[in-house]
């Protein structure tokens, strides 16, 4: 998915274009660019988020321009492939959202006719086609160019010396925003709502000519009357698709993203071309495999340690990347995994460079195609979470776990029976999560309870110890309640002094060898009068005798319990923050990825 925008009027186009592109970041944010026309067309584009480009872009003068923000699924998000794309002369610039089905053929023909292509994208054929047909009228040239094109598109074209933007739509969304002596074009209404709430929705096959003074829409070669719509809802509502917050939307997307991530690998090797790395081969020697990460990814890495050690019997060491950078003697093994959602985490990047210099083989797991980590790592595995807008990581964390499970399980070659069981359990996770999500009312109720406190402890053992850390982090991040994640056995080494009636404890249980010990811990906590909310498997009748409240999660193999438990804790944090009226998608003082050390 990509987002496109256009502006033509009396103001400087550049700030308006960037502002509109920011509104479209939900459609992708790995590379972007603008083209502005004054005396000649100037293009500025690069890999990176809209906000970053906005800061470093030179001031381009001009009151007409187009812009694009991209989310690469195939092909690299780099400067060359970013939009806008130009023709040979640099006089025509085009932004495109969609897929040109016959671009290979068109490109071949155009090259034969002497056109020069720079990028690997399908979109670049459009400006060249327009150049081919251009005889002083952009509208006619675009109409002629689109006759050659098969596929779907929403495009905005700009040409030096032409007083109009020419737009066209087939299969991808495009709207025109009507202003006063200025007009706007965008993939959707959210991009223009800061400036106008009067919009025209284009139909498939429409060709529009937009100038500062007015708009003209052509359908089947005839001009048609257009209908103006007033938009009454606010920008915020638009792309949360019914949900109140992006975070809740993203929590609910998790069953699907897990399925998408699994589908590529489980049936495959054979079908998808992308194959997972064999961890057993990667390790190389007897020294431990290192996992580097920060923040939420660090918690995923801690879970990963249990998974890899349990399934493969390979020793794993998990390091905070920010700490590794200050180890005077770097005693890591022959191989390391770097876990970063954004692929841009500065601490992780620096640690990777140090490790690489020490001769370490690096595997990067990231959600962003061609982000900085991928240029350092020897191997890359992409999580397929799609763009994540909520600052608190939810689906990107879950998919990191799924990738770690897949890496471990698909590297396992000892017992075919156990392998089948593990794969089966993995495949059933989406449905288990769906079940948890549809039964979330109980969690809402307990969140209401939790929202009244200022200090909360999260305790877990074994593979659910990192889950306690993650549960506490989520609560802190978005509800601003002070929360501590503890290994349950560590409570009695000091923190007991803090427990009392006003410090609820969330205890995370799993049906593994830690279960009995966790029950004893709950008893200890209850003895200090602290209220206990337990997370336990459905049908666990024992725990309700000890805990004050029980959140039931679907039954899974204990190895996979972090997946269901984390999602339950995400919901708990979300509804607690909602109850406290916090700004959930953009918590104070936090940014999505930390690119400073």
């Amino acid at each position: 998915m990509c987002g496109i925008v256009g502006y033509i009027g009396y103001r400087q186009a550049q700030p308006i274009l960037f502002n509109s592109l920011l509104r479209l970041e939900y459609r992708g944010y790995d590379s972007c660019g603008i083209a502005v026309s004054a005396d000649g067309v100037t293009v500025y584009k690069d890999a990176g988020k809209v906000g970053e480009l906005e800061k470093k872009a030179p001031r381009l003068k001009g009151a007409a321009g187009i812009g694009h923000t991209r989310w690469a699924t195939h092909g690299e998000p780099n400067q060359v492939n970013a939009h806008p794309h130009c023709d040979c002369s640099g006089r025509v610039a085009v932004v495109h959202n969609g897929i040109i089905g016959n671009y290979r053929l068109l490109k071949k023909q155009l090259i034969a006719e002497g056109h020069r292509f720079i990028s690997e994208t399908d979109s670049e054929v459009i400006p060249h086609l327009i150049e081919k047909y251009y005889q002083g009228d952009l509208e006619e040239a675009v109409a002629a160019a689109l006759k050659d094109v098969e596929g779907c598109y929403a495009i905005i074209a700009l040409a030096d010396g032409d007083p109009n933007l020419v737009v066209a739509k087939k299969g991808n969304p495009l709207i025109i925003g009507i202003g006063d002596r200025e007009n706007f074009v965008a993939s959707d209404v959210t991009a223009v709502l800061d400036d106008t709430n009067r919009v025209v929705y284009l139909e498939d096959g429409d060709l529009g000519v937009v100038s500062a003074a007015g708009i003209k829409i052509m359908r089947d070669g005839r001009e048609v009357a257009w209908e103006e719509k007033k938009i009454l809802w606010s920008v915020e509502d638009a792309h949360r698709a019914g949900y109140e917050h992006f975070m809740l939307k993203e929590i609910h997307e998790q069953p699907r993203v897990i399925r998408d991530t699994l589908i590529g690998w489980l049936s495959s090797g054979e079908s998808s071309g992308e194959s997972l790395v064999d961890l057993t081969k990667m390790q190389g020697d007897a020294r431990p495999l290192t996992i580097l990460a920060c923040g939420t990814s660090y918690h995923a890495a801690l879970v990963g340690r249990y998974i890899i050690e349990d399934v493969l019997g390979i020793p794993v060491r998990v390091e905070l990347a920010s700490e590794v950078n200050y180890y005077e003697r770097l005693l890591v093994g022959a191989a390391a995994i770097a876990l970063t959602q954004s692929g841009e985490t500065a601490d992780t990047l620096r640690a990777m460079k140090r490790l690489k210099a020490a001769g370490c083989l690096l595997l990067a797991i990231t959600n962003v195609v061609d982000s900085s980590v991928t240029r350092i790592a020897d191997n890359i595995v992409y999580t397929r979470a799609g763009p994540e807008i909520g600052v608190a990581a939810t689906k990107s964390f879950i998919v990191q776990l799924i990738v770690l499970y897949s890496l471990a399980i698909l590297s396992y070659k000892v017992d075919a029976g156990r392998l089948t069981d593990l794969v089966m359990e993995l495949r059933r996770l989406p449905e288990k999560l769906q079940r948890l999500l549809s039964g979330k009312d109980r969690i809402k109720e307990y969140a209401g309870y939790l929202s009244g406190y200022e200090n909360v402890f999260f305790i877990g053992r074994g593979i659910n110890f990192p889950v306690a850390l993650e549960g506490a982090l989520k609560l802190k991040e978005i509800s601003y309640i002070h929360a501590e994640g503890y290994a349950a056995g560590e409570l009695k080494h000091g923190s007991f002094a803090l427990l009392g009636e006003n410090t609820p404890v969330v205890a995370i249980l799993a049906r593994d060898n830690t279960y009995g010990a966790m029950l004893s811990n709950i008893k200890e906590v209850k003895a200090r009068k602290a209220p206990v909310i337990a997370l336990a498997e459905e049908g666990d009748d024992t725990v309700s005798e000890f805990a004050d409240m029980v959140i039931s999660v679907p039954e899974v193999d204990a190895l996979f319990s972090p997946v269901v438990n984390v999602v339950a804790l995400q919901l708990l944090a979300y509804y607690t923050a909602l109850e406290r009226g916090c700004s959930i998608d953009t918590p104070r003082n936090l940014a999505k990825s930390v690119t400073v050390e």
Partner: protein, 391 residues
Amino acid sequence: MKQAIILAAGEGWRLRPFTVSRPKVMLPVAGKPILQYMVEALAQNGIRNIVMVVGYKQEQIFDYMGSGEQLGVDITYVAQKKRLGTAHALAQAREVAQDEFLVLSGDKLIDATTITRFVTVKPESVLVKRVESPERFGVATIEDGVVKGIAEQPKEAGSNTVITRIYAFSREVFDYIETELAISGVLNKMIARGKPLHACETDGPWLEAVYPWDVLSLNSVVIPKARAEMGGVVEKGVSLKGQVSVGRDTVIRANSSVVGPVVIGDGCDIGPNACILPATSIGDNVIISPFSEIRNSVIGNDVAIGTGCAIQDSVVGNGCAIGGHFTALSGEAEVKVNDVYHSVKLGAMLGEGCSIGSGVVAQPGVILGNYSEVQALKLIRGRLPDKSLVF
């Protein structure tokens, strides 16, 4: 007509166990929810501004439909907090309704032809259709193309023309809603006050799932129309006959036989030596192990079916894990829903997330509730509630 309001808030309790975790409009038919067929029908007729009134398990609709972009439409969601009836649901859309709009009950399976003519009519109009057993519906009395009265589920129907719950209204309709809870009440009020209500007849498809086994009949109607797409890997020695659609990253292993119409989703692992017969639809991320035969059935997402199973005229909910040699053969069965017995030819209806051990035999017509567990070698029959344990 540029806007459509789809009423999608209902639960459909007679369809349990399949509606415990999803609203009725999200029942899957040939790999897509019923609601998607309606949205596609509207888009094909040029209606892209869609308002959905949602309520019961609305997240399922949000997750699947999103903002509508994948389907080329713009969706605005409106919540019906209390489910009091169709007119009450429509009233929730008052703020966003344009001057003229269509209103559709989202639980009906239609295609583009059903409404092609209707999208051009003037309000206030009702789409009607002749059916064989009108007693289940709202029966319309029509004179000269104008509706004179509507009788809801009459004991004796005066005609076989029923209202399809698809309407063309102007904003005036909101003035008639007042305290009415059902749209048919609103229509009768319009008629009583002399507001002409035009009838427009359709002969396009218009189907509804009322009982769990209706999922099978809807599936068999739609599946022959599904587009044949080949997205996965088909190994050597596989026989594909008729219209077969295979999703991306799916593998069909050696010596399997697939006879269309069949729709198989993404990321499935089928065979070797599996047999998929008409008219079967299989969801995403499904394993079908060697020597299993599946015929005229609907299999959900994330399902694992063991070796040597025989499954006929059955529905298997999302996330079921079925051991080897499970048998669900079709037969005549008396199935009780809401204290009424229905005589149907049926295999097994399995709810979501069930675990079934190996060698289990399902008697024709069994309805197993969601999240149930059946131990190996058991016989299941009758109606078992959610979370049943059979051991």
